[in-house]
Assembly symmetry: C2
Homo-oligomer: 154 residues x 2
DNA sequence: TACATTTGTATCGTGCACGATTAAAACGTA
DNA sequence: TACGTTTTAATCGTGCACGATACAAATGTA
């Protein structure tokens, strides 16, 4: 049966487990990333830079879906740690180029084992490998959908 | 092919789309919740209180997986808005009971249409209803797993 | 009854997220 | 060449999250 407020029950929400799971997984990364002296969003910035050599703030923003008001202080903290440098473009003074230092590149070798460690953490008796693969596939379809809807708001 | 750093590519991560999707979905809620003058975490607190009449801080913490250092200021902001009251228990002075006011209850009727609006936003040509149902099922299995792993860290 | 331990909340400091706004540089066009 | 528009970062203010810690109330135990 159920009453007219059934839709408001926590167990019927899809957003809440998504939100909670995301937070827990970030927590799984924390001790691994702490050894590299970085946070999870900083790790994401490194992933994009390792893959693309050099990026503007705007490019990172488009890759990670983070606004400049989040990235600017985050990148400054990383610059302070000597992981990267920020440099205004010569051609266009509005653009800030983000370039990894030697230290920034060196973290890559220490980080390379992290994904496997996370996968090991996620492997369980309840969820098969196919479940996870299918889950990721759905997620990769869902992301552009919600992105488009969310960005249409503003 | 691929090199030894393949595991560090953003496209191969499962955490990143989860994290990004969660943020986008929260963003979908924002304009709807703004009309009720609440934020998404505050909405989650309301969901748990509507379902349970009255809860201690600790109980909310266990339901939403949020620590007291997150909940205390959040509940104080909600108290300031007149949505709820916080009251030390008579039996055990350490315990704080959280009780909805009339205003807190009245928000329920205005919120009841929100879940459907979010579902409508998520419905798309790419993802079928079964995809979403299966996705939620996997998510509900995954959550307790990562929760356990994450809480074992500390 | 003393005293160590546990429990429940709160405080503090740091780091995201993000809406709103600002400001400078580049561009378009009359 | 003037001037309005667009683009790109940065700034400001608010609200989470969370690790570490503090503190008082309750509990356990000698």
């Amino acid at each position: 049966m159920g009453d007219k407020y059934d839709s408001l029950k926590l167990g019927n929400q899809i957003c809440f487990p998504l939100y909670a799971t995301s937070r827990f997984i970030t927590k799984l990364y924390t001790p691994l990333l702490k050894e590299l002296d970085i946070t999870y969003p900083q790790y994401l910035v490194l992933l994009s830079l390792w893959e693309n050599e050099q990026l503007t703030v705007r490019a990172i923003s488009e890759i990670l879906f983070l606004e400049s008001n989040t990235l600017t202080p985050l990148l400054k903290r990383m610059e302070k740690k000597g992981i990267l440098i920020r440099k205004r473009s010569d051609e266009d003074e509005r653009v800030v180029e983000v370039i990894l230092t030697e230290k920034g590149w060196s973290i890559r070798d220490k980080a390379v084992c992290i994904p496997q460690q996370i996968v090991d953490s996620l492997s369980s008796s309840n969820l098969s490998r196919e479940d996870i693969v299918h889950f990721k596939k759905t997620l990769d379809q869902l992301l552009p959908e919600v992105r488009q809807k969310a960005e249409n708001i503003t």
